[in-house]
């Protein structure tokens, strides 16, 4: 159990709960006869979440943090892959599926483990072309295939 994370999560969910409670009041009442409009359910969810978050925050003061060994997290690899995933999402529609997927796979293959460049290029190429061909050509799906320029 990670006390710090639990506290952050507790506060975060508390805020979400308050947000829901406050925002649900702005939803207009049902237009016709029903006594239960669209705002009742979200409002109660907000209240329950607030209660649970307070309960979680209270719990974090009770238990001791278990001493877990410091794990070596590979942040560098993670951030490169995370960054390339965001860029991949950003460029997917702009430069097309085949190119963006190829580049994304090549970069991430090499990030996870360096070396064997030829294999990486081959696997990335087969995957990106293969998926596009199967999906767009054979199954008739629509994917932004190639750059439009």
């Amino acid at each position: 159990m990670n006390k710090i994370f639990d506290r952050f999560a507790g506060v975060g969910f508390l805020l979400v709960g308050i947000l829901f409670l406050v925002e649900s009041q702005k939803i207009s009442n049902s237009a016709y006869g029903s006594s239960v409009g669209p705002k009742i359910f979200p409002m109660w969810l907000g209240i329950i979440l607030i209660a649970l978050s307070i309960r979680l925050l209270y719990e974090t003061f009770k238990y001791k943090t278990e001493d877990s060994e410091k794990e070596q997290l590979q942040y560098k690899k993670f951030f490169i892959i995370f960054g390339s995933a965001v860029l991949y999402a950003f460029f997917l529609e702009k430069i097309g599926y085949v190119v963006s997927t190829f580049v994304f796979l090549l970069v991430t293959f090499q990030t996870v483990e360096r070396g064997k460049m030829v294999y990486s290029v081959l696997v990335a190429a087969v995957f990106s072309f293969g998926v596009y061909y199967l999906f767009a050509e054979i199954l008739g799906g629509s994917l932004p295939g190639f750059p439009l320029f």
Partner: protein
């Protein structure tokens, strides 16, 4: 007689050539998913939904639905077969449901009986699969006849029970599990309200009008979360794979495991039917039961074949049993069945009592195909177990980026928006953080799917009763469900207070 006729029709559908192919592909991928540590049945099924959706896009709606659900269910129970392979050969369970298999399975492998352990778990899984299917066939019709009389109040209470059961058993802290449930319900309210047509929490973003797509969230939380975990945490190299000498079990092995298989199947089936308790719990229960019934309990943990046969049958039976509440009541009892339900809803097919009347071809086709699929799995797993064991050696280098690419493709192919891709990445990170800190994600997905239905039934019930909440307590069935839901949350709490350890159900 009716049931048999329906079942025969179901076989007619299951034996169409494309459905045989779908079942085959499903069970093969399922076995692979089971073998690979890191991808569980939930992420496997979630990843494949968009793929099947595109493959079946040319077919008429209900045929497409039955074909895809045949494939997706195949992944689910196929994973139960595959999970045992790594438990036995490597001492690392491929799924959480085969954790107990490592206890005796790996010991057997060390003694050179890996083949016997593998084949007995395949045979056990097969028997369990058939037993649970017979149960499904027998119970489906009567249960859906009962369920069809449910009004909105009963449905609301029943869904509450489903959520309570999953939250009560998921993860170490019930507070966290309940928080995730409520958060999932909240996410479900985003979009246009189905009853009044009023936009809620959309802030005039057109992309939010239709709500958050459950598929994006499920793939992000499970599949991507798992990938991020593997990237961040350098895990130790897998040990040497035990050699498989002979595959067929000896006569003595068969004799020793016959009773545990039957016991495990029945136990697993009934645990599977209960909402919240899935395959993992079933395998644990079966192991302790076998130990209790055994004449020499001290041999457990040292390579007793009953310790493999029982749990492996139980987890497979549980996956069959879990289909019952999904198909007859429309209430998924676990994360994986929640995803299957999401897939059915994508095809505009509402699981529940009407499913057997309105879409008998989907319900019975699926049931019949499960008979077929289990047979395929038995044939696949006995001689080909060596081939599947090789899958473990797939280099992470290629596997991880490819899972990301497949989830991107899947989400984009269904949604066609970049917004969903960002949401996918965000959910991946949340999924990693949540599960790392014991916030169980399965209740979130379940709540997200059930959310709109719960709200709908709640409001319908309250409209009938003119806003009186007593309607939920005066209708007898509804009261029973509510009491059961409360018990599900309170009993583990009381047990914990008395210092008992409570087995929890972590489904990966």
């Amino acid at each position: 007689m009716d049931t048999l006729q329906f079942l025969a029709d179901g076989f007619g559908i299951a034996f169409q050539w494309q459905n045989i192919l779908f079942a085959f592909v499903g069970v093969v991928i399922g076995t692979a998913v089971g073998v690979l540590p890191g991808i569980g049945p939930m992420s496997g099924v979630a990843l494949l939904i968009p793929v099947t959706a595109t493959i079946t896009s040319g077919m008429p709606a209900s045929a497409a639905a039955s074909s895809s659900i045949i494939l997706l269910a195949g992944v689910y129970y196929g994973a139960m077969y595959g999970g045992s392979t790594t438990s036995i050969l490597l001492n690392t369970p491929g799924e959480s449901s085969s954790v107990v298999t490592t206890l005796d399975g790996y010991q057997m492998a060390k003694q050179g009986r890996a083949g016997a352990a593998l084949s007995i778990s395949a045979i056990g899984s097969f028997c369990a699969g058939i037993i649970s299917l017979i149960g499904l066939v027998l119970l489906a019709e009567p249960l859906s006849n009962v369920a069809i009389k449910f009004g909105p109040a009963e449905y609301f209470s029943l869904m509450l029970l489903g959520l309570a059961a999953v939250s009560g058993l998921a993860g170490k802290s019930m507070t966290k599990a309940l928080m995730m449930t409520v958060f999932g319900l909240m996410l479900g309210t985003i979009g246009i309200d189905a009853v009044s047509g009023i936009a809620r929490f959309t802030y005039d973003q057109p992309i939010l009008f239709s709500g958050l797509e459950f598929l994006t969230i499920a793939v992000g939380l499970f599949a991507l979360g798992e990938v991020i975990k593997t990237i961040l945490e350098r895990d130790q190299d897998a040990g040497a794979i035990a050699k498989i000498h002979r595959i067929l079990p000896t006569k003595q092995d068969m004799k020793d495991s016959a009773v545990p298989i039957v016991r495990g199947s029945l136990l697993g089936f009934f645990i599977g039917v209960l909402p919240g308790a899935g395959a993992t719990l079933a395998s644990f229960f079966s192991y302790t039961t076998e130990k209790k019934f055994s004449k020499n309990p001290e041999t457990f943990g040292k390579g007793n074949i009953a310790g493999v046969a029982g749990p492996e049958s139980a987890n497979n039976a549980a996956s069959g049993g879990a289909m019952i509440p999904l198909l007859t009541l429309g209430i998924p009892g676990s994360g994986t069945t929640a995803i299957l339900m999401g897939a059915l809803i994508m095809y505009n097919i509402q699981p529940g009592p009407l499913l057997f009347d309105e879409h008998p071809e989907v319900a019975w086709g699926l049931i019949a195909s499960m008979f077929l699929g289990n047979l395929m799995l038995l044939v696949l797993n006995m001689p080909l177990v060596r081939v599947f064991a090789k899958i473990i050696q797939t280099p992470k280098k290629y596997l991880l980026p490819m899972i990301i690419a497949i989830s991107f493709f899947g989400v984009y192919a269904v949604q066609y928006t970049t917004f969903d891709l960002y949401l996918l990445i965000g959910c991946g990170i949340l999924g990693y953080l949540f599960s790392k800190n014991d916030f169980p994600v399965a209740p979130l997905v379940l709540a997200l799917i059930l959310g709109p239905m719960i709200e709908n039934n709640l409001r319908r019930a309250l409209t009938i009763s003119n806003g009186e909440f007593s309607i939920f307590f005066t209708k007898p069935l509804s009261l029973v469900f509510i009491i059961a839901a409360a018990a599900w949350l309170l009993v583990p709490l009381l047990l914990k207070l008395r210092g008992r350890t409570v087995i929890i159900n972590e489904e990966g």
